[in-house]
Amino acid sequence: MSSLVTRVRQKQIGQLIDAGKRLDGRGLGDYREIKLEQGLIERAEGSARVLLGKTEVLVGVKIETGEPFPDIPNEGVLTVNAELVPLASAAFEPGPPDENSIELARIVDRGIRESKALDTGKLCIEPGKNVFIVFVDVYVLNHDGNLIDASALAAVAALLNTKMPNYEIEDGEVKIKTGYTPLPMKSHPITVTLGKINDKLIVDPWLEEEQIMDARISMAINDEGNICAVQKGGAGYFTLQQIVEATKIVQEKAAELRKKLEW
């Protein structure tokens, strides 16, 4: 991807980072201001909106019933999809999902799936025949960098906000009853992304930093502080020492975020 940041600006960002500072006044290890709002789409079974600085992500959860995967007949199905909506950035185009939106969806998916956040075993209606399918749709509304963390956070918040329809089985048919129960959630994974600029690791890169950074690394951390998903991105590399350092920073930031958020 070609950079839209001028050379002067690149140099300025780099020099500031060398001095441990950032253009928007943050320290290298600071997140932008995070705002979280849940349940704003009444039509959806669950929803959440995250503002990470100017980055805005809306996640809606829809629940349907359908057939399970044949190899796991007793479990409900989780699917995550991400849309880089054209109104979010001049760089987004309408059309089928490109590699960036697929990667984003799969990173969010892995964080939730691998931490076993959603107890899919409890989403089975009739083994092998009928289960709940949970659709998590990530909608990027404004792109100002670090879509990964914002989307992952909004996805978990939306799942926590989701109400599953009550049901009963009558003559082998599923009847939806009145009332709702919350989704069975077991963990609250938090994904933290670090960028690498001038061999320094920065937390929560915003758009301009994202466009000039060498590489990024994202890690999802579960409630116990263990790592449950990792993804390196970008055309650069990390040394082993930087990876170890990143693990420590991510742990710290995830714990900090977890405290700040009242789920």
Binding site: E99, E103, M219, C228, Q231, K232, G233, A235, Y237, T239
Partner: protein, 245 residues
Amino acid sequence: MNEKPEKLIDKKGYRLDGRKIDELRPVKIEVGVLSNADGSAYIEQGKNKILAAVFGPREMHPKHLSLPDRMVLRCRYHMAPFSVQERKSPAPSRREVELSKVIRESLEPSLFVDLYPRTGIDVFVEVLQADGGTRCASITAASLAIADAGIPMRDLVVACAAGKVDDTVVLDLMDTEDKAGVADVPVAFMPNLNAVTLLQMDGILTPEEFENAVNMAIEGCKKIYDLQKEALKTKYMNVKEEVEE
């Protein structure tokens, strides 16, 4: 799908296929296997059988994708429909799109992209048979194919996975271990630059186990790196002999 075996590691510390904890599967690499490609390589790692081909640097199609100041690396990772137990649709899946992206990003740091402005390099990877760890074997082969195409590189990129099976961190997971195991950590590495160019993980690991797995994967990478160099030498020493005759 096969039933999950009770134990993936026996009491003596041997794995289902008789390997030790930190032992690689047998690796066979060959360079220059396709005559039409500018560079190519074939790798077998366990039951994995993977072909990689490189075309370029050449003019980009479509042209508007080319960049005025550098070359563009494109990469397609694709699995043959018959490469897995249940037939895979030949249309690219979301997994393949993601893997194509991370494989490209793992290879790009090894290239001097500004040496070839306005051009493109296409890397095509076909998985003919899959047995766990295909993305890593693909990177190992693709990097050799780039070298075989005579494109200048900072270093060969070599990849290998480590993971957690039962309670143990082990090297180079095969299909069964990957599916029934606790975690999988694929790593791509440039040994001369100490640079990790691909790092992914799924599963659950403590930070210590994660560091341990990354280290083990890097040790595995170094072993495969020797085989990579050996494979390049085998082809080009033969070429040299032919020329001298």
